[in-house]
């Protein structure tokens, strides 16, 4: 067992975990953060995508011990004061989900994408979410949602959107 101390969605947790435990298992089984889901066993589907210190990661490909000392943000931590993150709102507004199973990972990846590239073209969006599989939507409305969110998260967009967007927009050099 290894002791880890991790901040998840703003709360600090300290736990003993098996060294082989995956971050996604830790989130789901130990913390009850079942908003993050498992869709495959080969890191192809991206359903388990979360942010680790501001970068999107597939939490099935990260060990819980690697999150020691890190900040994890999941889909459950996006809402601020009852306000949806602009990306969540955009997924709703653009009917970018059907069964919703890929949605948490897709939203987390899309936020990360805009952190890298605030104004992506359709091709850049499609390539940016290539690691996240969706079986319901054909991706078209997801692309629309990301474009919509990008326009609303741009500097100059309304202040409330900015305040909820900024702290969680993914980064990466």
């Amino acid at each position: 067992m290894a002791r880890i101390r991790t901040t998840v969605d703003g709360l600090v947790y300290e736990d003993d975990v098996e060294p082989r435990m995956l971050l996604v298992q830790y989130l789901r089984e130990r913390l009850g953060k079942t908003g993050t889901v498992i869709g495959c066993d080969t890191s192809n589907c991206g359903a388990c995508t979360v942010h680790l210190d501001g970068m999107s990661v597939k939490s099935c490909s990260v060990l819980a011990v690697q999150a020691n000392g890190a900040e994890v943000l999941t889909i459950e931590g996006l809402e601020r004061d009852g306000q949806l993150h602009p990306m969540q709102q955009a997924f709703h507004d653009n009917h970018a989900l059907q069964c919703g199973y890929c949605t948490p990972g897709m939203i987390m990846q899309s936020i990360d994408l805009l952190g890298d590239n605030p104004d992506p073209s359709e091709t850049e969006i499609r390539e940016g979410i290539e690691g996240n599989l969706c079986r319901c939507t054909g991706y078209q409305n997801i692309v629309r949602a990301v474009q919509d969110a990008a326009s609303k998260m741009k500097p100059g967009a309304s202040a409330t959107q900015q305040s909820s967007a900024q702290p969680v927009a993914g980064g990466g050099a």
Partner: protein, 828 residues
């Protein structure tokens, strides 16, 4: 009581692009997937699965697994009676259909790689999986049975020796015998000796696919509540409940099945799965709640597959382009066992090969065959994509032989809009449609003539990237289904659907439906219907589903039936609510019932401004202080709707692809579809269904294949190898609707869930071939991967390619990366 002043009817909900009610919990991670279920004392199940396709089980040693700390029990089949179970098949398509026993765990012989042979129960899923690795099974390998045609030959190894054959059933429709058309054998014979006719014969392969719902299957059973409770990731909670009772001899009223949030199904969760039965058996044996959740690899290997047919087609046609006969001979791979509706899936195609065309003589002959592969059953479209692919590919081939523009050939033969209702050669009556209108609009949106010119330009210049244009003018039958028709097809159940409306004292409406959504947006669409029917606000409607305690009767969701059948049950229930409320309204308004009219949620006395709202009547009957003698103080209602006919969506799909003639890489260039799905309740949801359907149909054409090696091992057993399209593989589609309202239901709706998948596959393959046919390529098996396309070009141009014809179609040849920077495919 309220008095209406200036009755203003709210804008109709039907037709509005309402954002979905369902979304909130899904976008915030507050979902209720089965695997999220955590019960005190919950145990976890892992299944030991056979690595061999066909083998006798000589012995199982569970001793090492039992020693692992945290393991509660290890069971082989006999320990829990799993080998005595006969998992149900609800569709005996012929009287003499062979139905080998399908156990929950194999007892003495395994018949496909992945079949369960033992289970491990432990306090955590990880411990159960670790211990499952320690179960020693002694197998005696048998010859696998992999090729469905070879399996039908004399002397072939038998999957199930006890039934004496690999043939499951043969099902024939003959229009000559049915009286709906001529004798096709005569038609073909006549055509062969007629200088004014030709006969075109083609053989097409429908590869095996995997549904790949994103949520892996999961089941939790709590045996300790008064009703044994099963949460399962299923499309069919009601069917599952009844079948569990019938299969296991349990009293049906002691079972409760809950399908909470279900992450996609596409037909893949229409099942009474061995794992569901095992979880139940183990939970009952141990008296503890038990969970089973599959891994993705386990899902690809063991959840049912779809498609997998060999199609031999013959069409006779006059030289001026009139079809005179169509002969269809199919062999369909059932895999090792029969699924819930597996044997009936190819039979649904019998009614769709004639498609939108007027065909005077038609015969359909399908032989189902057993092999030692994962069983096949429903996958989005179920029988209809296979048929649509066959006919729409054949229409292109015949047009070529006639040297006729493929759209023109189609138009010469399709049913004209003024000919509806039209009874087809396969005996279905299409109520409405307008193929001319959909095609005209699609051509304009596509710039059909412009793209044809561009194609000619590229050919003339000899561009490396050649343009191909593919057509699919499809129809389908959905809204499954009229119960009497299902009876005539020997299906084991009806096709009705139910709905109940429970009016709350505060005027809100709880609507209980028997259909069971897994991404379709029923809560939103049905709320829109109820809002219009009862005149109550959209937000005052709550849709309940997926729990057999609240939704006690239903036939669940598949076959694009939820709106066309379930939605109509909702309408009928609402009509009953209004009917029941009427005498109470009359009483409250001191008027005669005959003087009342209902509109916008209110009963009003004709010619006056007196009125009372349905929501106020709900409160009045709750109080029940003052209501007419002789009636019950209640306006709740339940309705069952049995459709009189299928519905027949149709559309014209046009696809343009660029094929790189040097690499074989196929890229989507433009995709236009104009679908007629009848009246639209929510255009946003309809468009979403079309997009997703297109993606799956395109995936069959270009990317996906469940391939086995010569030992019967699934090669595409992970999402690395089973290549779902990513966002980067697809383009934005141009979709639109034309509308001819269905005349067989009061909403005029047709169903949209499967249309995109059914229509798109032949459009894409036709476009790929259209791009490179001038190079001598005649056909390419699906998926048309870069490797296959490149090889076909090489072979056609006389170069000895890196693969001969046989290899091009060999298992696994279709596996390839779709990455643009790896144009040769990952398997080279």
């Amino acid at each position: 009581m309220t008095t209406t002043e200036n009755p203003s009817t709210p804008a109709p909900e039907i037709g509005r692009d309402r954002r979905r009610k369902e979304d909130r919990r899904l976008i915030t991670g507050r979902t209720r997937w089965v695997d999220n279920q955590a019960l005190t004392g919950l145990l976890h199940l892992s299944i030991v699965r056979s690595p061999f396709a066909h083998a006798n089980i000589k012995g199982i040693d569970t001793s090492a697994a039992k020693q692992v700390p945290g393991v509660v029990a290890v069971y082989s089949a006999a320990d829990i009676g799993a080998d005595q179970v006969q998992l149900p098949c609800a569709w005996p398509i012929t009287k003499d259909m062979k139905s080998p026993q399908r156990p929950a765990l194999a007892g003495s012989r395994v018949n496909f790689a992945g079949e369960g042979v033992a289970v491990v129960v432990a306090r955590s899923a990880a411990i159960a999986k670790d211990a499952a690795e320690l179960v020693e099974v002694d197998y005696e390998e048998l010859e696998p049975v992999l090729d469905m045609e070879a399996a039908l030959q004399d002397g072939a190894t038998l999957v199930h020796p006890e039934i004496g054959t690999n043939a499951n059933a043969q099902w024939v429709f003959d229009s000559g015998e049915a009286g709906s058309g001529g004798d096709v054998a005569e038609a073909l014979k006549k055509a062969e000796s007629d200088d004014d006719q030709i006969v075109v014969r083609r053989r097409f392969r429908q590869q095996r696919l995997v549904p790949v719902f994103m949520e892996p299957r999961s089941t939790v059973v709590d045996p300790n509540s008064e009703q044994l409770t099963m949460w399962s990731s299923t499309q069919v909670p009601h069917i599952l409940k009844t079948m569990l009772a019938l299969t296991l001899g349990l009293p049906e009223h002691k079972i409760r099945v809950i399908a909470p949030d279900v992450g996609g199904g596409f037909g893949g969760k229409i099942a009474v799965a061995p794992e569901e039965v095992l979880t139940l058996l183990v939970a009952r044996k141990l008296g503890k709640p038990v969970k089973w959740t599959e891994t993705r690899s386990e899902s690809l290997l063991t959840a049912h597959h779809g498609r997998d047919q060999v199609q031999e087609l013959a069409m006779s046609v006059t030289k001026d382009g009139r079809i005179t006969g169509l002969d269809v001979k199919l062999i369909a791979d059932m895999g090792a066992y029969l699924g819930l509706v597996g044997p009936g899936v190819p039979i649904l195609g019998a009614f769709m090969f004639n498609a939108i065309y007027k065909i005077p003589a038609y015969r359909f002959d399908c032989t189902n065959v057993f092999t030692t592969k994962t069983l096949t059953d429903a996958y989005r479209g179920a029988g209809r994509p296979e048929a649509t692919f066959g006919i729409e590919r054949l229409m292109d081939e015949v047009a070529l032989e006639l040297d006729m523009e493929p759209l023109e050939f189609r138009e010469k033969n399709w049913i004209k809009h003024e000919e509806f209702p039209y009874t087809t050669v396969s005996t279905l009556t299409y109520d409405t449609g307008n193929y001319e209108a959909a095609t005209e609009q699609a051509k304009q949106m596509f710039d059909y003539d412009g793209l044809r010119r561009e194609q000619q330009e590229r050919r003339r210049r000899g561009d490396v990237k050649q343009l191909g244009i593919g057509i699919s003018t499809f129809t389908e039958m959905c809204g499954l289904a009229p119960s009497r028709v299902l009876g005539s097809l020997d299906y084991g159940a009806g096709g009705w659907e139910t709905a109940s409306i429970r009016m709350q004292p505060t005027g809100k409406a709880e609507v209980v439906v028997g259909v069971s959504p897994h991404g379709q947006g029923h809560e939103t669409a049905f709320s829109q219907i109820v809002a219009d029917q009862l005149g109550v606000p959209f937000d005052d409607v709550e849709i309940l589903h997926g729990d057999t305690q609240s939704s006690y009767k239903g036939l669940d969701t598949y076959g694009s039936r939820s709106l066309a059948v379930g939605g109509i049950a909702v309408v009928k229930a609402a009509e009953k609510v209004i009917e029941k409320a009427k005498p109470i309204a009359a009483h409250m308004l001191e008027a005669a019932e005959g003087d009342l009219e209902f509109s916008g949620g209110k009963f009003t006395v004709k010619g006056t401004d007196k009125g009372v709202g349905i929501q106020d009547i709900a409160l009045a009957v709750f109080a029940a202080h003052d209501y007419p003698e002789g009636i019950e103080p209640d306006i709740d209602a339940h309705a069952t709707f049995d459709p009189e006919n299928f519905s027949f969506p149709h559309g014209t799909h046009l696809c343009a692809v660029e094929v790189d003639t040097e690499t074989g890489f196929v890229e989507l260039y433009k995709y236009v579809c104009v679908d007629d799905v009848g009246n639209v309740i929510n255009p946003l949801i309809v468009e979403g269904q079309v997009h997703g359907g297109l993606a799956q149909g395109i995936a069959q054409a270009l990317y996906e294949e469940a391939a086995y090696d010569d030992q019967g091992t699934l090669l595409s057993g992970t999402l690395v190898d089973y290549t779902l399209p990513t966002a980067a593989d697809l383009i934005s589609f141009d979709t639109a609707n034309t509308t001819t309202a269905s005349t067989t239901n009061p909403l005029g709706v047709k169903g949209v869930g499967e249309a995109g998948t059914i229509a798109s596959t032949p459009a894409v393959v036709n476009s790929v071939l259209d791009a490179i046919r001038h190079l001598g390529v005649k056909d390419i098996d699906m998926p048309t991967t870069p490797y296959r396309v490149w090889s076909a070009i090489q072979n056609a141009s006389g170069h000895a390619g890196r693969a001969d014809e046989a290899n091009v179609a060999s298992p696994g040849a279709g596996l390839g990366s779709t990455a643009r920077d790896m144009p040769e495919g990952g398997n080279l």
